[in-house]
């Protein structure tokens, strides 16, 4: 395919019941490079939780696309995000993943920066015989082009040509709020690092995080374990979650949003098996009946391009960072209300580890399938793959349910669980095609 028509990699004809994506989108290393430039370096990326940077001088390092990033809270308590790169010779500055430091000193020649990103020392400066031109230059850390927070989640962008964060998140904010407003004192991410890689394209995680269809095949062994816990009262009761067999008869649906975001949802068969249920009265008073009811539903969302929140067996936030066309780094975080009672906290952790850990009972079955899928892409054949389940039930714009929620999605779908719709992925791939086409055509990515 000619790259000038790059948007054609997504065959997007909903009025004809067709939505398909070319297999090269997952396997072509030239497209991968263009994704870095036109998607990851030109949109918003999740950086960290504000709860990880509670005190002045706390810092966390992360990445946007290929760029090393340093997020810090300065002496006055202000958050900032910078390229984690020394202005002298370009070495990575902060080498620890997180910590608390008033100053970051480069290991190479000792240039030092404060927690606000200001250069505070150039080693042996007085004796250096710098010319006046040097003194006139700015030696501070380079701030990200955009940095903003929403409900305790910190985001950054390498590009200034992005909408304001709240406009970028748009109507998806309703679903982010459902995750981030569960506790009266806010939410925190729990300590402990789970990082792993899989040998497949990043978009396989984007897909699978909102894929109801695979559960009854990929996760049959997990369902066996759950069934045994339910029926025989055997196995690890400390991790007990809802009865998976019951979810198959629930009502659910999806919403597509602008800027590539999407959400799927399902009525919760056993709301009492969710931690938020224990404080439902408090939650209702604080956020209202509609939002409290929605907090009890299963919800998985994609914050385009590479972040997801899943509130199903536990409340998870994950990022999936592309390392190569066929290699992705996953980072998963368990979220919980600040001040949660100890027993609920322990139960939450056991549910999380059970399903979402790469050392758990479900996630490795997902990554195994991603790797098999990537291996399948090596076949030298050209075809478009479908995202067609549910297209017959697709409603353009807001459904009655969406209007009731007070949100304005681009498209809605509401029906039985068994639709197991793939239409939720129309928004992300439509945005992928739009941003890639804008990139190769030399157009601005967003109308600002």
């Amino acid at each position: 395919m000619d790259l000038k028509d790059i948007g054609l990699y997504v065959d997007d004809r909903p009025e004809q019941g067709v939505f398909r994506v070319h297999r090269d989108v997952f396997a072509d290393s030239e497209l991968f490079e263009l994704e870095q430039t036109y998607i990851f370096e030109r949109s918003w990326a999740f950086l960290a939780f504000a709860s990880q940077l509670a005190q002045p001088h706390d810092f966390v390092v992360t990445t946007i696309g290929r760029a090393p990033v340093l997020v810090m809270r300065d002496a006055a308590g202000r958050l900032g995000a910078f390229l984690n790169v020394c202005r002298h010779k370009g070495a990575v500055l902060a080498r620890a993943e997180s910590g608390n430091r008033k100053h970051h000193v480069c290991n190479y020649h000792g240039w030092a920066y404060d927690s606000g990103g200001k250069n505070v020392d150039i080693k042996d400066r007085k004796a250096a015989c710098y010319a006046a031109a040097f003194d006139a230059e700015n030696h501070d850390l380079v701030p990200l082009a955009r940095f903003a927070s929403y409900k305790g989640l910190l985001f950054g962008s390498l590009s200034s040509e992005v909408p304001a964060l709240e406009d970028y998140l748009g109507e998806l904010k309703f679903f982010i709020d459902l995750a981030m407003e569960q506790g009266p004192q806010g939410m925190e991410c729990l300590p402990g690092r789970i990082t792993y890689t899989y040998d497949a394209n990043w978009k396989l995680q984007m897909d699978n995080g909102v894929d109801f269809y695979h559960l009854t095949t990929t996760h049959t062994s997990f369902m066996d374990v759950v069934r045994r816990r339910e029926r025989a009262k055997a196995g690890n009761q400390a991790a007990r979650a809802f009865d998976w067999d019951k979810r198959l008869t629930q009502e659910g649906g999806m919403f597509n949003f602008r800027h590539g975001h999407t959400a799927i949802w399902l009525n919760q068969p056993q709301p009492e098996r969710r931690q938020v249920y224990a404080s439902l009265d408090e939650v209702r008073k604080r956020v209202g009946d509609t939002r409290a009811e929605w907090m009890l539903k299963l919800r998985n969302i994609v914050v385009f391009p590479n972040m997801q929140i899943a509130d199903s067996t536990s409340l998870l936030l994950r990022t999936f960072r592309p390392l190569a066309v066929d290699k992705t780094e996953m980072r998963v975080y368990c979220m919980a209300p600040v001040g949660e009672p100890a027993d609920l906290r322990a139960w939450r952790l056991r549910q999380f580890e059970d399903f979402f850990n790469v050392s758990g009972l479900a996630t490795p079955d997902d990554t195994a399938v991603y790797e098999d899928t990537q291996a399948g892409f090596a076949a030298p054949v050209t075809w478009f793959q479908g995202y067609q389940r549910g297209m017959g039930a697709l409603e353009p714009g807001a459904s009655a349910l969406a209007r009731n929620m007070g949100i304005k999605p681009v498209a809605s779908l509401h029906g039985s669980y068994m639709i197991q719709t793939e239409t939720c992925l129309h928004a992300p791939y439509r945005e992928w095609a739009r941003l890639m086409q804008a990139g190769v055509s030399g157009e601005r990515p967003y109308l600002l």
Binding site: P191, G192, R193, Y196, N236, L349, V358, S359, P364, A368
Partner: protein, 165 residues
């Protein structure tokens, strides 16, 4: 003292052998019903998590029932990550007897490495670390009442099952 160390070492070697030979029932039988099986995560580069009730673990079970779940899944033949099963070789070494309470309890510390071959993807992963054990003796039989596994290389591949560490 020496005798107890011999007994303890034998249990640790058996644990490794049963995993490598997929003798799952014999492996489970090494643990007490109320055993604590814990693989903490790293909180930072140099510091482990210390409270499984407040921090994420790679694995935390407060009883053998959790280990039984793993075996149910492995045996189901329905887990893509477990078909075919990886082939493993555990090496357990540097076993130290670090404490005893009469004939009722001994504490051991071991170093371990596990080579894991995936016959499907034709690749090998290696995991390594050390482990702290509490063995409980009852009527001359010793069982594992606590095992805390430190996984040193925690930048993980796409699956880590209980038999891989």
């Amino acid at each position: 003292m020496t005798d107890l160390l011999e007994v303890g070492r034998e249990i640790l070697y058996r644990e490794a052998a049963y995993l490598d030979e997929q003798r799952w029932d014999e492996w489970l039988a090494l643990f007490t019903e109320d055993c604590e099986y814990w693989v903490p995560t790293w909180r930072t580069e140099g510091e482990l998590t210390s409270n499984p009730r407040a921090e994420i673990s790679h694995v935390y079970y407060a009883g053998r029932a959790g280990l039984e779940d793993r075996i149910v899944r492995i045996r189901s033949g329905r887990s893509p990550a477990s078909m075919p099963l990886r082939r493993t070789t555990h090496i357990v070494a540097n076993v130290l007897l670090t404490g005893t309470e009469g004939d009722a309890l001994m504490r051991l510390r071991s170093s371990w490495t596990s080579h894991v071959f995936d016959p499907h993807h034709k690749k090998t992963d290696v995991f390594f670390g050390h482990a702290y054990y509490e063995l409980r003796g009852e009527g001359g039989t010793w069982s594992i009442a606590k095992k805390k596994t430190i996984l040193q290389n925690d930048y993980l591949p796409s699956m880590v099952d209980i038999y891989c560490i």
